[in-house]
């Protein structure tokens, strides 16, 4: 059986998903974490409370996250920025992938019952991060590969 499979398609997917995270920052930009129009981070968190699939998670958002909105908004913003840049450039990809998988699962759990949301999106997003982690996707067309080559030389 042939084991020869190209690794570059994974690298392209990594960059595309990096862009996905960076584009998603548009509606949670500081200082108010609101877009010019449409729903912002606060609206989505409130939807997670109103349509919580897991009561514990809904209570957590309602009693911990919303009262400390600015702190959590900065944490979410910075985490997504780090994941986006890590995947786009292929730097510290395994770390970025692990963080991205956590963010994807959190989104999936929080938005599972929110009307109009499709849970498969977040399942696939989490799966992709798992794939980047397993394959060390930054080694092809990424800064991780460049760093490795430099350290060998």
């Amino acid at each position: 059986m042939s084991l020869q499979a190209p690794l570059w398609p994974i690298a392209v997917a990594r960059a595309v998903i990096g862009l996905l995270w960076l584009f998603s920052l548009r509606w949670k930009l500081p200082p108010d974490f609101m877009p010019a129009e449409g729903r912002g981070l606060m609206d989505w968190l409130q939807l997670e409370v109103a349509h919580a699939a897991f009561p514990f998670y809904g209570r957590l958002v309602e009693q911990l996250v919303l009262p400390n909105f600015t702190l959590f908004a900065w944490m979410i913003f910075l985490a997504e920025l780090v994941v986006g840049l890590s995947l786009l450039t292929g730097a510290f990809t395994r770390l970025g992938a692990l963080l991205g998988m956590g963010l994807s699962l959190n989104l999936g759990i929080g938005l599972l019952e929110v009307p109009g949301e499709w849970p498969w999106s977040y399942a696939m997003l989490a799966m992709w991060h798992g794939l980047f982690f397993v394959t060390g996707a930054g080694r092809v067309w990424g800064l991780d590969g460049l760093r490795k080559r430099n350290s060998v030389a």
């Binding site: 084991l3 499979a5 690794l7 499709w118 799966m127």
Partner: protein, 161 residues
Amino acid sequence: MGQVENRMRQAVAILRITLGVILVYAWFDNLQKGVYTADGIVGLFNYLFNDNGGGPAFYRAIINGTILQVPGLFAVFQLVGELLLGIGLLVGLFTPLAAVGAALFFFNLFLAHFGGQEWIWTYVLLTVSALVTALTQSGRAWGLDSLLLKRLGEPPRGPIW
């Protein structure tokens, strides 16, 4: 490097199977909702273009000039095509062909939803997943394509397994 490549192909195989499950599940759902009928197809595009507000002008013109001229015929094509793509990906049979077909289908959905109310990246994810499935020939891990490869060797006319 071989082990890494095999692990990568197995990881993509999980993605392939997920895409197959999504397509087969959506097929059953659409069948129950009557989407695969002339009225169902017209209703679907009416929803996409008017209620959801998606679809660039050039795309609407293409759909209006082609599919919506023969919705009954397209309904049959969609009924058979979507099921074949789903099963092909699920069992990993002729995976590159099934995956390219799925990528075109998902890209079509991307265009239909573009500018609408839904999260457009869902369709980007689906299209990219299908393309990567095709390019990595992921049916060679945990799929029937691995049996074809063992019995017949590399395909003589292009990577169809």
